[in-house]
C-alpha cells in the first residue's frame, strides 16, 4: 500500500506532462486561436509561463514520489533520521524561484508596454481613435465621430451612436477610447485577447489589430452589478470599405426624418 501512494504521486506529473503536451494542439488553453497581433505575444507569454510552471510541477511531484518510494522500500529495522533542515537547500529554493520571477517580469515588459503605454501605441492607431466605447449598466454604448471628423473626448454634433455593436477595420491597428458612465466595467474580447478595465472618470485608450474579418465577442469582465451577465456585445471586424459603408449607413439612419424618399423623378428636378 505504501508503494501504491508513491506510484500515485508519480502518476500525476506524468498526466500533467501528457496534458500540457497535447493541450495546445487541441485548443484547450484558449477560447480560440488569437485573432489579434498582440494576442500572439500574449499567448507566447502564457506558454512561457506554462512551461515554467509545468516543469516546476513535474519536478516537485517526482521529488515527492521519489521521497515516498524511498520510505516505502525501507525495512522495519532501519532507524529514522532526524534533521533540522538544510540551509543550502533553503537558499537554493529561495534564489532559484526569485530568478525565475525576475526573468518572467523582465520578459513581459515589452508586451506590457505595447498594450498599456500610450507612447508605445502604433502611431496610426493613436492619432485617430475610431470610437468611444462607453460602458454602462448594462450595455456598451458606442460613439463614432461624425464622418470626416476626429473623435473628441466630449460628444460633438453629428457624432454617431450605436449600442452593443462595434465595427472595426481589419489589418490595421485601431484605438478605442474606453469610458464608463457609472461603475467599473471591463472591456473583454476573449478571441482578440483584449481585456481592459473601464474606470469611472478616466478615458482609457485601448488598441488592437484584428487579423481576420469576423464577429467577435465583447463582454464585461468586471462584476458590475446584478445585470453583469447582460453585457454581451459584438465586435464586427471587416474591411476598411465595409466599415466606411457601415458608417455611411449609420449616418443616414441617424438622420432619418421619417419622410419617405421622394420618387426619383422628383429628386432629379
Amino acid at each position: 500500500m505504501k508503494k501504491f501512494w508513491a506510484l500515485f504521486f508519480f502518476f500525476w506529473p506524468a498526466v500533467a506532462i501528457w496534458l500540457c503536451w497535447i493541450a495546445p494542439s487541441r485548443g484547450w488553453w484558449f477560447p480560440s486561436e488569437s485573432k489579434s497581433t498582440l494576442g500572439h505575444q500574449i499567448d507566447g507569454l502564457f506558454y512561457l509561463i506554462l512551461i515554467i510552471v509545468t516543469v516546476t510541477f513535474v519536478a516537485t511531484q517526482f521529488a515527492l514520489g521519489y521521497a515516498m518510494w524511498k520510505g516505502a522500500v525501507k525495512t522495519a529495522d532501519s532507524s529514522a533520521v532526524f534533521s533540522h533542515g538544510s540551509h543550502k537547500l533553503e537558499i537554493m529554493w529561495t534564489i532559484v524561484p526569485s530568478f525565475v520571477l525576475v526573468f518572467i517580469s523582465l520578459t513581459q515588459l515589452d508586451v506590457l508596454a505595447e498594450i498599456r503605454v500610450i507612447s508605445q501605441f502604433p502611431e496610426e492607431a493613436r492619432k485617430e481613435p475610431i470610437a468611444e466605447v462607453m460602458a454602462r449598466q448594462f450595455e456598451w454604448r458606442i460613439r463614432y465621430p461624425k464622418p470626416g471628423t476626429v473623435l473628441m473626448t466630449e460628444p460633438q454634433p453629428g457624432d454617431l451612436y450605436f449600442v452593443n455593436e462595434l465595427h472595426v477595420p481589419t489589418f490595421r491597428p485601431v484605438q478605442i477610447n474606453l469610458r464608463t458612465q457609472d461603475v467599473q466595467h471591463a472591456f473583454f474580447s476573449p478571441q482578440l485577447r483584449v481585456k481592459q478595465d473601464a474606470v469611472p472618470g478616466l478615458v482609457i485608450p485601448v488598441w488592437f489589430e484584428v487579423e481576420e474579418a469576423g464577429t467577435y465577442d465583447l463582454v464585461c469582465a468586471e462584476l458590475c452589478g446584478w445585470g453583469h451577465y447582460k453585457m454581451k456585445a459584438r465586435i464586427i471586424a471587416e474591411s476598411e470599405e465595409s466599415v466606411e459603408k457601415y458608417i455611411t449607413q449609420l449616418n443616414a439612419e441617424q438622420n432619418e426624418d421619417g419622410v419617405p424618399d421622394a420618387p426619383p423623378e422628383a429628386a432629379a428636378e
Partner: protein
Amino acid sequence: MSLTPSLKILVPAVLSVALATSGCSDSAFDSSFVYSTSTTSLMREAQDGTKELPGVKKLVDERFGDPQNLKAWLKLPVDFGGTTATVVEYATADGQLAQGTAAPAPYNDSDDARSLATEGASAIIRVTVEEGQMLPESATSIVFVSGTGAGKSAAITAWNSGTGEAMLTSVPDHVPTAGDAVTLDGGSNLKSGRMLYMRHCSHCHGTSGDGNGPTAQYLNPKPRDYRHGVFKFTSTNDMSKVSRKDLTRILKYGIPGTYMPSFLLMKDEEVYAIIEYVRFLSMRGEYERKLDSELAGDFSQKVVDGRIKAKESRTAIAQEVTEFLAVDLKEAASTLGDDLAEQWTGADSEEALIVPSIARIPDSPESRRRGRELFLSKALNCADCHGADGAGNGPQTIAFEKNPLTGELYNEPGLHDVWDNANQPRNLHYGIYRGGRRPIDLFCRIHAGIKGSRMPSFKNTPHEDIWNVVNYVLSIPFETEPGATGVPAPAAAPAAVTVPQEN
C-alpha cells in the same frame, strides 16, 4: 470489476442532477399574475363575483389564464403562435371511421399510418393547411377552433409532418368533422415569449408586467408598468397605442438614460416572442383596469363604506352589484375586448404612423433661432416645464400637482406621470434622448407627446415649426451659453408659477 458497483451508484446520481438542473429551462417555478390594486380595492362581490356571476378576477382569468396555463383570447391581435389547419379525416384507434367523417374510404394505407395505429393510438386525425403554407415540423397539441368541439384540445403523441397525421393520446369526447378548423401547437409563440420574458424581463418588469419585479425598487426611473397599456416612446400618433415596431426598437436598442438595456444580440424570433408576450400582458392589465373602472364608481370598497355610512344597507348594495355584474359588466366584458382589439390593431396600421408632411428643415442658425423662439413662445410653452434654457427646471417643476384620480396634491413638487411616479421634464443639455436621437424620434416626441407623461401632443403645430424646435433642441447640448443661437434672453419669467394651495 470493483469499479462496477460504484459506477452503478454514480450513474443515477448524475442523472438525477441532470434532471434537477434541466428543470430550469421550462417551468422553472410557479408564478402567478397579481391583480391590480384597482381590482383589490373593489368590494368583495365585484372582485370575486356572486354565486353564478363572474367578478372581475374570474373574467380576467377566463380570458388570459395564469402564467402556467396561459389562455389565448383569439379576439385579441396577439400572435399566439401555432399553425392553423383544417380537419380532413378522423378515425378512432380500431380503424373504424367515426361517424360524421367525410371520407368513407379506408383511413390510410401507408406504413406510417399503420405504425401509428399499432402503437396504441386511441384516435388519429389528419389535417391539412391552406395552399402555400407548410405543416409544422413537430406538433404536440391540437386545439379545435370550430365545430362541435370548439375550444377543446388534445395532446398529440406522434406527428407525421409529411402527411399531416396526428395520433392523439385519448379519444376526444366529440367527433371532429372534416372542415373543422384546428390549431396545432396553439400558443407556442406566447409560451416561448413567456419563458424568455421570465428570464430576461421579469426581474424588473414583474411577472404580471406591473413594473414591480424584485429589482424594480432599486431603479429610477421605474420600469414600465404595462398594465395601463401605455408606452412612452412611440412613432404612432397621440391617440394610438404603441406599435410592434416601436417595441422592437426599444428592445433592440434599449433606452439610454434609464436601466432598460439593449438586447441587440437576441435572435429576431426571440424578440418577436417577447414583444407578443408584452403586448399580451399589456392587454391583460388594461382589460382588468377597464373592468375595474366600470365598477369603481359605485362599488369600490371606499365608496361602499361611504354608502353604508349614509344608511344604505349592505344587502341592497350587494343586490345592486349582482345586477350590475349580470347586465352591465357582462356587456362591458365583451365590448372592452373589442375596443382593445381595435386599438391594438390600429397601432400597427399605416394611419397611426406619424409621417412629417415636409422633410426635416436643414439645421442652420436661422432654424435654431426660430426653434428657440417657438420654445419660449406662449403657444408651445416648452419653457414652462423644460426651463428657459432647456435645463429641465421650468416653473412647473417646483409647483405641486394634483393627482388627477384622487384630486389630492402629490407629496413632492413637480410633474407626475400616469403611473404616479415623479417624472421631471428632461434636461435637454444632457444630450441623452430616451426615445431615440434621430430627428424623426424627436419629431414624434413633440408631435404625439410622451404618452403617460405630462409632455403633451403638439400635433396641431405646423410641421415646419416642429422641425425648427427639433433643430433647436438638438443644438442645446452644444450651446456655448444658454440660448446662444442669437436670441436675447426673455425679459421676465415665461409663465406664472402655480403655488400650492393650502387647505
